[in-house]
Assembly symmetry: C2
Homo-oligomer: 392 residues x 2
C-alpha cells in the first residue's frame, strides 16, 4: 500500500497517477482540497514568473506546463467531465470543466524603472529562448482595454496558461472515487517507523475513522506547509491572502501582473466572470487569518492595475499557507528514511508543477523503475531532497 499524506493538488495528483498505474493507494487528509490549493489562483505561468536567480524553477515550470494539456484531458476523462461536456471537441472538457485557458500572461510596467526592468527581463528571456513580446502602453491597452492609463509598457508571455485549482482538485477527487481509491478523512499525526524505515502513519482520532494507524510500504509526504512538522524536511509556511471578485462581464481576457508599491500583484480571470486577485506573501508561521492589512494591500494594488475592479462584488476572501523551501524549489523523490517519498515544498507552484510532480513520483515508484534518465532525470535531480542532506 502507498499512503499519500495530503489531499491538495499535489497529493491528489500523485494518488491519481499511481492508481492509474494500478498501484494500491490511500489518501489521508482531514479536509481534502481545503489547504493551499483552495486559496491558489491557478496561474500556469512559468515564463512570466521567472526571475533571474530561478532558472531551475523555470525549467521545472516549463516542463510541467508542457504536460498540462494531456494531464487535463486525461483528468477530465477520468473524472467524468467528458460526459458532462459531451459531444464537444478535443480539449473542450478540460477547457470548460477545469477552466484551463492558454491565452497568455501580460506583465505590465508603470514607471521608467519598471520599464527598464521589463526590458532586461525580455533580454533574459530571449537568451533562454522563451517566447515573449515587448509591448508599448498603447499595445497593452489594445489587448486589455481595462488596464490603467498609467500603464506604460508590458511583456506578453503568450504561452502561459491558467486553470481553476478548485475545479482541478474536485476533478481529482472524482477521478479517485471512480478508481476506488480510499480517502481517509483524518489528520496524519506522525510517521510509524521500524528502526529507520517508515512503515506507515499514525492518525489523529476523527469522526467515522476507526483506524488509528495505517501501515504502508511507502508513505508519500504531500502535506504542503505541514510537511516540516511531520518529517523534519525544510518546508515552512508562507502565508498568502487572495480575493475572488464577481464580474457581470469579463474585465480581462488574460492574466495580468504588475509590480505596485514594490509588491507583485496579479489578476486571473475565470470563465464564469470571476476575477482572482492575489496574493500577499507573509512569513507569519501557521497563521491563516484574513487581515485588514492583507485585503488593503490587494485592493490598493489591483486598483492601480485595473481601476474598474472597484465596481466588482467581493465573492470570497481566503488565506492559505504555501509550502516554502530554502531555495524555492520543491522536494520530490526519496526521503532520507527508507519507505518515505517526498512530494512537497512547491511554494507558489503547486498547481503548475502537479503534472510533473506526479510523473516523477510515479516513475520512481512504478514496478521495475530504474533511475530516471534524460530530461526527466535532470529535472528529478533539481528537485532531489538529497540536496539539503548534502549541505547539512
Amino acid at each position: 500500500m502507498n499512503v499519500i499524506v495530503g489531499g491538495g493538488v499535489i497529493g491528489l495528483s500523485v494518488a491519481w497517477r499511481l492508481a492509474r498505474e494500478g498501484l494500491p493507494v490511500t489518501v489521508v487528509d482531514p479536509a481534502p482540497a481545503r489547504g493551499a490549493s483552495h486559496a491558489a489562483a491557478g496561474m500556469l505561468a512559468p515564463v512570466s514568473e521567472v526571475s533571474y536567480t530561478e532558472e531551475p524553477l523555470l525549467r521545472l515550470g516549463a516542463a510541467s506546463l508542457g504536460r498540462w494539456p494531456a494531464f487535463a484531458d486525461e483528468l477530465a476523462a477520468d473524472a467524468g467531465l467528458d460526459e458532462e461536456f459531451g459531444g464537444s471537441g478535443p480539449g473542450e472538457a478540460a477547457r470548460r470543466g477545469l477552466d484551463l485557458r492558454a491565452d497568455g500572461t501580460l506583465d505590465v510596467a508603470f514607471g521608467a524603472d519598471d520599464l527598464a526592468a521589463l526590458d532586461e527581463l525580455a533580454a533574459f528571456m530571449d537568451k533562454l529562448g522563451l517566447r515573449v513580446e515587448r509591448l508599448t502602453g498603447r499595445e497593452c491597452r489594445r489587448l486589455e482595454p481595462m488596464l490603467a492609463p498609467s500603464v506604460r509598457g508590458g511583456l506578453l508571455a503568450p504561452g502561459d496558461a491558467w486553470v481553476d485549482p478548485r475545479r482541478v482538485t474536485a476533478a481529482l477527487l472524482a477521478a479517485l472515487d471512480r478508481l476506488g481509491v480510499p480517502l481517509v478523512r483524518a489528520r496524519a499525526a506522525g510517521l510509524l517507523r521500524d528502526g529507520e524505515t517508515v512503515t506507515g502513519v499514525r492518525l489523529d482520532p476523527a469522526p467515522g475513522v476507526a483506524a488509528r494507524e495505517l501501515a504502508a510500504e511507502r508513505v508519500v509526504l504531500a502535506a504542503g506547509a505541514w510537511s516540516g512538522e511531520l518529517a523534519g524536511v525544510p518546508v515552512r509556511p508562507v502565508k498568502g491572502q487572495i480575493m475572488r471578485l464577481r464580474s457581470p462581464q469579463p474585465l480581462l481576457g488574460r492574466c495580468v501582473r504588475g509590480t505596485v508599491h514594490g509588491a507583485p500583484v496579479y489578476l486571473v480571470p475565470r470563465g464564469d466572470g470571476e476575477l482572482v486577485l492575489g496574493a500577499t506573501q507573509e512569513e507569519l508561521g501557521f497563521d491563516t487569518r484574513v487581515t485588514a492589512g492583507g485585503l488593503h494591500e490587494l485592493l490598493r494594488d489591483a486598483r492601480e492595475l485595473v481601476p474598474g475592479v472597484t465596481e466588482l462584488e467581493v465573492a470570497d476572501v481566503v488565506a492559505g499557507l504555501r509550502p516554502g523551501t530554502p531555495d524555492n524549489l520543491p522536494l520530490i523523490g526519496a526521503g532520507e528514511a527508507p519507505g518515505l517519498v517526498l512530494a512537497t515544498g512547491h511554494h507558489r507552484g503547486g498547481v503548475l508543477l502537479a503534472p510533473l510532480t506526479a510523473a516523477l513520483v510515479t516513475a520512481g515508484l512504478s514496478p521495475g523503475a530504474e533511475i530516471l534518465t534524460g530530461e526527466e532525470g535532470e529535472l528529478a535531480e533539481l528537485c532531489s531532497p538529497a540536496r539539503f542532506r548534502e549541505i547539512s
Copy 2:
C-alpha cells in the same frame, strides 16, 4: 390589532413598547434583524455627528440618547439579560448584555483645514450648549495611544455613547417572544385598503405562513429602505458597507471618527474586542453587494486614523441599506391614509433614535392619547410626515 411592518431596530422597538402598554401587536418581516440594523455600527453620537444644517436632527438625537439608559435597562430586564448577568449592579445587564457604553466619541483632525473645521464645530457646539472638549494631537494620543502620529487635534464629545445593534435586536426579539408577540416571517407585499383607509397588509407566500393577509386597525410602517415601495413615502436606500475586525486586545477605548480623503470614517470598539469600521455612503438603489471599492475605501481610511488596524483579522463584511429622506429627518407619526402610522426614514440614526421613535409612536397610539405637548410635541412636529405632504 397593530401590525408592525419591519423587524429592524425601529419596528421591534415600537412593537416592544406597544406590547408593554398592553396593545395587541404583530410583527411582519421575512428576515427580522437582518437589514440595516444588522449592518449598523451602533453609534449613539448625536453630538459628534452634528453638522451645521442639522440642528433639528441634533435635537432628536440628544433627546433619544437621553432615553437610551432607561430603554436599555428595561429591555435587558424584559429580555432576561438580568438573569444572565444576575447579581450585577445597576445598568450592568445593559452594559454587558447590550454592550452599551458611554465613554464618548473622539473626532480627530489631520491637516490645517481639518483643524479649522474642528474649531468652528467646537464654537457651534458651545453656542448650542453641548459638552465638548477641544484637544491637541498629544492629548488625543494620550487618550487613544493607537491613533496615527499625524493626528493634529481632536474634539471629544464625552457624553456620546454606543451599543451593539445586533445584541439590541436579539434582545428585542427575546423580549417580544416573552411578551407573546407573534412574529410573521413573511414579506409584506402591499397594504390592504378600504377606500382611503389602510386595513391591513398583504403577504407574500412564505414557508410556514398560511395567512395571505393580516387585518389591522393600524399598520405601523417600519420597513426602512423598503418603505417607499410599500407606501409611496419619500424614503430611498442609501447603501453602507461596514467591516468588523477582531482584535486580541482592544485597540481603542472609545469611538474614534475622522475625515480622510474627504470621506468620514469611524471606528467603534466592542467589549469583546471587535472593532467596527464604517461606513460607505452610496446612492445605488437596492444594491447590497460588498464591493472591492467599498472595502478599499474603508481599509484605506481606517489605516490613516489607526495604523494598527492592519494587523487585525477580518471577521465580517456586510452592506446594508439606510432609509434616507430628503431632509435627513425621520418620518414618525400619522401617515396620509387613516390607519397608517409611519416609523421610518431614520437614515444613519435608527439605533440612536429607536427609544424616541418608540415613545412617540406609543404615545400617539395609546388609548386616550391626545396631541403630544411640550418637548415631545416639538420633537414629534420635527418628524411629522405631514411636512412632505404640505410641500407637494
